[in-house]
């Protein structure tokens, strides 16, 4: 996992290379700096090039019974839809979920890495890691890679000894605790429906329907979101996938087509 920092070693003190014994904190990862006249400008350009537009819709909210997590499943590269069946809800461990927005590879890799760290914590400390702790581990890692072009906008949702927990963590190093979040290009649309319909005392079915509707509405208006609306529920016994509905089918379910009179006449003529 360590990046190659041999290029920077010349700055180290002459005697006694930094020994593990003395250093309480591990060094942040770093990489070789390119030779340009305008390093700042170059860096900004590089980041813009790498930064995808987080074309997706994900949301999560805490309610009386636990946490509801939902996401779409479309991956887009500019105007090209590269996949309609991406798993954007990542199972970190049986009681914690992460959502994917931004770079797919970045999200997948770092969530799996977080899963490893959570498991190691469990083994070392004989108790599960809290959602607070897990989200902080991820946020600290992302912060140490700040400015290097990672693109991650994720929500960590889980149930621990303190009850339901939900955190938003992003690649800028930000970490927020909250009750409702939506991340991605479709999030404004999802927020509209979610904030309107949210109540703390909802049943699991009501909350699932709210989550599903919010994703559907976001996929309706946002071109970068679509595919399948997956809904997961996190309760005291861990997470459970509740549904995965194609948003096209959801559309006709919410807004069924009424046959107009013209079509009826044509049917009669054909019968005669």
């Amino acid at each position: 996992m360590k990046l190659d920092t041999s290029g920077l070693e010349s700055a180290a003190p002459v005697w006694g290379a930094p020994s593990e014994l003395v250093d309480g904190f591990s060094a942040a990862p770093s990489f070789e700096v390119p030779n340009t006249t305008d390093f700042d400008g170059f860096q900004k350009e590089a980041i813009q090039m790498v930064k995808p537009a987080k074309g997706t819709t994900t949301l999560a909210f805490i309610f009386k019974e636990g946490v509801m997590v939902a996401a779409d499943s479309r991956a887009s590269m500019g105007g090209y839809i590269s996949s309609q069946s991406v798993k954007k809800i990542i199972e970190i461990n049986p009681y914690m979920l992460g959502t994917m927005a931004g770079g797919a590879a970045d999200c997948q890799f770092w969530h799996r890495n977080l899963g490893i760290k959570c498991r190691l914590h469990e083994l070392a400390n004989k108790r599960r890691i809290s959602v607070t702790g897990a989200s902080k581990l991820l946020a600290n890692i992302l912060y140490s890679y700040r400015g290097m072009g990672l693109s991650v906008g994720t929500m960590i949702a889980g149930w621990d000894e303190m009850g339901p927990g939900l955190y938003y963590v992003d690649s800028e190093g930000g970490r927020l605790k909250g009750m409702r979040f939506s991340v991605g290009s479709g999030s404004p649309y999802a927020y509209g429906v979610l904030d309107n319909g949210y109540r703390y005392d909802m049943s699991v079915e009501e909350a699932a329907e709210l989550a599903r509707r919010s994703i559907y509405h976001a996929t309706f208006r946002d071109g970068a979101s679509g595919g399948v609306a997956s809904v997961y529920y996190v309760g005291p016994n861990g997470w459970k996938k509740l549904s995965g509905d194609d948003v096209g089918e959801l559309h006709y379910k919410y807004y069924p087509v009424m046959p107009s009179t013209v079509e009826q006449e044509m049917v009669e003529v054909a019968g005669a």
Partner: protein
């Protein structure tokens, strides 16, 4: 580049790490320390060498806190103790920063023991010459614990333990007299164990009690004297009861 990679702690032909064993000798020469776990508190006691007249005794505290809910006492080289305590204190805060939770007693004990082990397997360094007694409360469950580490880097949990000078006699005493206690009884048990090997008095013993509500509290000299007096009185009464003839039975 001069690299100190010549190890000092190496195996002997019959499987001993002599440097570690010599470190244990240093511990055996250190002042006595005892720890007792009660149902609702944990008590640490250390033997205090009689303070020099001009010395400010408060600067030479032997029982220190690592965090609000964890405290440590040790036997052995005091200078090594200072370094180890500082690293442990940093680790307690670092843990709070990275997982937003206070350390558990087991975690910080594992860290200190791990540190002590590292110094038995690195180039150019010698092992720490001290054994520690670490007490505290689990931040979630509120369960009190007592752990001991030693220069080899091993650690384990104890109901009551002693280290330093004459630790064997203290441990024997504790094994004979240990029972589940709480509150003042635990303090008395710890002081009684210390009194087996130390001349009595508030001047030669330092005692601290940790409770879940109030954290670590160092006992005042006067308090310790009072408890010692109580213990002495109980001892005298017990002796008298043994010597006195049995009351004659009513015929």
């Amino acid at each position: 580049m001069a690299r100190y990679d010549r190890a000092i702690t190496v195996f002997s032909p019959d499987g001993h790490l002599f440097q570690v064993e010599y470190a244990l000798e240093a511990v055996r020469k250190g002042n006595a320390a005892v720890g007792v776990r009660g149902t609702d508190n944990v008590v640490l006691g250390v033997e205090k060498k009689s303070a020099a007249k001009l010395q400010d005794s408060r600067s030479a505290r032997k029982i220190v806190s690592l965090d609000d809910h964890v405290a440590l006492a040790c036997a052995g080289l005091k200078a090594d103790a200072r370094v180890l305590i500082n690293r442990a204190r940093i680790e307690c805060q670092s843990h709070r920063l990275t997982v937003e939770d206070p350390v558990t007693v087991e975690y910080i004990t594992r860290y200190i023991a791990g540190l002590q082990q590292k110094y038995t397997q690195s180039g150019g360094v010698r092992p720490f010459g001290l054994s520690t007694l670490i007490v505290g409360f689990d931040p979630y469950t509120g369960v009190p614990s007592l752990y001991q580490t030693d220069p080899s880097g091993t650690f384990s949990a104890w109901k009551a333990n002693a280290t330093g000078r004459n630790s064997n006699s203290m441990r024997e005493f504790l094994e004979k007299n240990y029972k589940e206690t709480s509150g003042q009884e635990t303090v008395k048990l710890a002081i009684r164990a210390l009194l087996e090997v130390v001349e009595s008095g508030g001047k030669t013993i330092e005692v601290a009690v940790m409770t879940k509500e109030h954290g670590l509290r160092q006992l005042e000299e006067a308090e310790i004297d009072a408890i010692v007096a109580e213990i002495e009185a109980e001892k005298v009464a017990a002796e008298a009861a043994k010597k006195a003839p049995a009351t004659p039975k009513e015929t």
